[in-house]
Amino acid sequence: MTISVKPQQIGEPLFYLADEHPHPEGWSTSLGFWIYLMSDCLIFAILFATYGVLGANYAAGPAPKDLFDLKLVAINTSMLLMSSITYGFAMLTMQQNRIAQTQMWLTITGLFGLAFIGIELTEFAHMIHEGATPQRSAFLSSFFTLVGTHGLHVSFGLVWLVTLMVQVWRFGLIEANQRRLMCLSMFWHFLDVVWIGVFTFVYLMGMLR
């Protein structure tokens, strides 16, 4: 059997790019990273849905009112909010090509992020000490999964932040590093958006139950 390849005729529709044209490095990174963030958004949506379904099943165990300390959550929320604005300042100084100030703002962002993780781990440790472990009830399983996944994201964001600070320290604010810092900026602000959902639906509405 022979396959005959017909030459392209004039006027026939073309379903692919006939000529490969070059693109500058990283030209599609921000769109690709945005699509990754959207897929991450779906993960959190499913975890929120799970918490919404199971969140009232205490199995005669502790309820949100017995466990949550809203003052601590308010402090934690302000830590994340502060880290968002300091990352914004890091992006602004990056655009002006001021390396030292960019590194300083990144360090402050990292410290706020570290404080957030520290307070969250203290809260978790306190809950587990009181016997409110993930195994205790469906409410606690879904709570630890949702809030823990967010905390894990912030922790990986911190690792990424330190990595990029080393990159900037070694190679300066080259175009590739600027692109990487912009991706982390989107990741960091995205985690703040997820946290808005967490403190509203888990902590504040939990206290209203």
Partner: protein, 125 residues
């Protein structure tokens, strides 16, 4: 004015297509989010509204507004960046999230209310 300049560049595959913030937009976004965070915390901690359902609806409203504020001022969302593809991806994701959330809650709520608890069933004998 910034978006116009960017969309003009976008036509010939400029690598720097994303919108940047300025000091004033970052500070405005920050002040708005502090206010939009503080009010729901205060409402719940003080119990100012009295009615729990009303409070829940109000703090949900504040959360939605704050998410939009973060999207615009921190994530620099607009309809023109990447030829509108970021906005398309966002709209698609929001549709998926709404279907997943409302569908799960709706179905599972009916499952809980329509399933007879064991003790009620034994009482019917």
């Amino acid at each position: 004015m910034k978006t116009e300049a960017h969309s003009a560049i976008t036509a010939d595959h400029h690598p720097d297509q994303h919108a940047h913030g300025s000091l004033s937009t970052y500070l405005l976004g920050f002040i708005l989010s502090v206010v939009l965070t503080a009010i729901p915390f205060w409402l719940v901690m003080s119990g100012e509204l009295g009615n729990k359902q009303v409070t829940a609806l109000v703090i949900m409203g504040f959360a939605i507004v704050q998410i939009v504020v973060h999207m615009i001022y921190f994530l620099h969302m607009n309809t023109s960046s990447e030829n509108g593809w970021t906005m398309m991806a966002l709209i698609f994701t929001i549709v998926m999230v709404v279907i997943a959330l409302s569908g799960s809650l709706w179905v599972m709520h009916h499952l809980t209310t329509n399933m007879m608890p064991v003790h009620e069933m034994s009482g019917m004998k």
